[in-house]
């Protein structure tokens, strides 16, 4: 069994850091693990993107031919099958010299109630012992149901494998006691990795600190276990509305429409069945009436 103790960070209380709990990975002691991404200290360096692509051997898009977005300093643009980490640049410039940048390293949220896992017909998407959500590439057949089901638009096809792919929270690393590549590479500790319980505590303290410093808009997105989707194991500290970061305010499970939609379809089927039977019955009654009245039958049809 592997163990991991976080390294002390410069400026932090060394004694507190060295007495921090030791996390055990794998086996029966496995705990829910997650990311806490503090967007206020993200500098947009994209080291996490590079580390992710490097560790997970994700190929370059379009064979490495660079394509500029043209309207943003961010050229990755979105999470997809080849980019499992993406630093979003939210460029808010209502006037030429009046604006701000918001940086957010986006990733799979590893939802406690995961829409992708719910709809996956092959069982390729599983929940691991770390409460993370992983797509098994050798089981996935590329039906893309998970892509449409994810409330965050995280999942995409990897053209190299022909399967749907996304962040695994470096399952291969964390199961041997290593930290995921992205959080390991993050130079500002904007991305922090640990047990969800511990991260929530740390995140709450950080929000308090920011508010005390005057950043009153600071709040946590997805840290509430009683919130949408039962909480997100990868949650964020934000300072603007979720929509500004491209995040849904109230992410929901795809199955919310299942019962109503199926009930309406069933009602439609019953109505059509009744309609078909009524039509035949009516035709029979018309025929009887015509026979009784000795009326000649109508023309076969109006076709040539």
């Amino acid at each position: 069994m592997a163990a991991y103790a976080p390294l002390p960070i410069l400026g932090q209380d060394t004694a507190a850091a060295t007495t921090a709990p030791t996390y055990y990975y794998g086996g029966p002691e496995a705990q829910p693990m997650g990311f806490f991404t503090d967007t206020t200290i993200c500098i947009g360096c994209k080291a996490c993107e590079v580390a992710c692509k490097n560790w997970n051997q994700l190929p370059a898009r379009d064979g490495g031919v660079g394509e500029m977005s043209g309207d943003s300093y961010d050229n990755t643009r979105r999470l997809d099958g080849l980019h499992w980490r993406h630093v979003k640049f939210v460029e808010q410039f209502p006037e030429e010299y009046n604006g701000r940048w918001l940086m957010m390293s986006d990733v799979c949220k590893h939802c406690v109630q995961a829409g992708c896992l719910e709809v996956c017909p092959t069982g390729a998407i599983i929940r691991t012992e770390f409460d993370t959500v992983v797509i098994q590439s050798d089981v996935c057949n590329g039906c893309r149901a998970c892509i449409a089901a994810c409330p965050f638009g995280v999942i995409d096809m990897n053209p190299a494998s022909g399967t749907a792919q996304k962040c695994t929270m470096c399952y291969d690393r964390i199961s041997v006691g290593l930290e995921p590549a992205c959080s390991k590479a993050c130079p500002t500790d904007s991305i922090q990795f640990g047990t969800v319980e511990d991260l929530r505590e740390r995140a709450a303290q950080r929000v308090e600190q920011l508010r005390a410093d005057g950043v009153t808009d600071a709040y946590l997105y997805g840290a509430d276990a009683d919130g949408p989707l039962g909480g997100l194991n990868a949650f964020f500290l934000l300072v603007d509305e979720p929509e500004v970061y491209g995040l849904p305010r109230n992410p929901q499970m795809p199955s919310r429409n299942l019962i109503d939609s199926a009930a309406l379809s069933t009602a439609g089927a019953v109505a059509l069945g009744a309609l078909a039977a009524i039509g035949l019955r009516k035709q029979r009654m018309d025929r009887f009436a015509a026979e009784e009245d000795d009326v000649p039958p109508p023309p076969p049809d109006l076709a040539p």
Partner: protein, 319 residues
């Protein structure tokens, strides 16, 4: 802003639009054939036979379309069996794609058995005994199950779209019933055309009239459901204020309203324009049914995800 605005499109277009169309026709044809098989007269039998054969061809074609649409087509069987614990089955009743895969498989088997029964009955295949699959109590019981499975195939596709998080699809509960009613209508239209082509004029008369009558009422129902579909979208209905709305308008006018008039007023039309109202109406219904599915899929597929969300939110919050 709807929470569905922040998601990514699954690229269900090239093979999925034809699948929704063909699968709907297959399911609807089997249902109509089964109704005529149970409640119809001997004169209806040619159309019953055509319906079962259309259903079998449609079901097989549907399976092929779905397989080639997969990122890894050779893993199509992962939909039914657990690849890691072969041959244990996998079925997730709350996942429309999982239960739909099983339904299509079962429907394909039933429709093929019925079609084999028809071919044996017509002595087109050597084993005449196989006609029991069609012309017996067992054949009729099989038809009951096939009709249920057929309707499932016709409707689950819309339910599948609603059980996502995509704009339009997940913003309504009416897509399933819309596709179902449209499937019944397009199937009736195709059976009308095939009856006009393959069945003698003195035999097909009452069957074709029933199909046209049924198609007319199905179109009327489709009109009502389409209205509910658009209304149920709420603020997302603004997506129709674009080329998407124009396509939907074409479906409404040429795929529903004009065929309605053609079906309910055939004599009136024929007297004035010397046209073939049944034929024209059926062709328009088929084209409209295909376009309806194309619009329903394309309208959402062309809305791209989180980035669009940022831009949309910025214009919303930073005017």
């Amino acid at each position: 802003m709807s929470d569905t605005w922040f998601t990514a499109p699954p690229d269900w277009l090239l093979y999925i639009v034809p699948y929704f169309f063909v699968g709907g026709i297959a399911g609807g044809s089997y249902f109509l054939a089964a109704v005529l098989h149970w409640l119809g007269r001997p004169e209806d039998r040619p159309v019953v036979r055509i319906g079962y054969i259309v259903a079998a061809i449609g079901a097989i074609l549907s399976g092929l379309l779905l397989i080639v649409d997969l990122g890894r087509p050779l893993r199509f069987w992962h939909m039914l069996l657990q690849s890691e614990r072969f041959p244990l089955p996998i079925l997730k009743p709350w996942s429309p794609m999982s239960i739909g895969s099983w339904a299509l498989f079962l429907f394909g088997v039933i429709a093929t058995l019925s079609a084999i029964g028809v071919l044996a009955d017509e002595r087109r295949i050597r084993y005449h005994g196989l006609r029991v699959l069609y012309d017996s109590l067992a054949g009729r019981v099989l038809a009951l199950f096939g009709a249920a499975a057929g309707f499932f195939i016709a409707g689950y596709t819309g339910v599948l779209l609603s059980v996502t998080n995509r704009p339009i699809w997940a913003d309504t509960e009416f897509l399933g019933v819309l596709f179902l009613v449209s499937a019944a209508s397009t199937a009736a239209a195709l059976l009308i055309l095939l009856a006009l082509w393959r069945v003698e004029a003195d035999v097909r008369g009452s069957t074709v009239r029933w199909l046209a009558w049924f198609d007319g009422w199905a179109l009327l129902l489709e009109l009502v459901v389409l209205a509910f579909f658009v209304i149920s979208l709420g603020s997302v209905a603004s997506v129709w204020l674009s080329w998407r709305g124009l396509l939907l308008l074409i479906v409404l006018v040429f795929g529903i309203l004009v065929p309605l008039v053609l079906h309910f007023r055939p004599v009136w039309i024929a007297e004035r324009w010397r046209s073939r109202p049944l034929f024209t109406g059926a062709v328009l219904v088929l084209a409209g049914g295909f376009l309806l599915r194309l619009v329903a899929l394309l309208a959402s597929e062309t809305i791209h995800g989180p980035h669009a969300g940022i831009q949309g939110a910025q214009s919303l919050l930073w005017p």
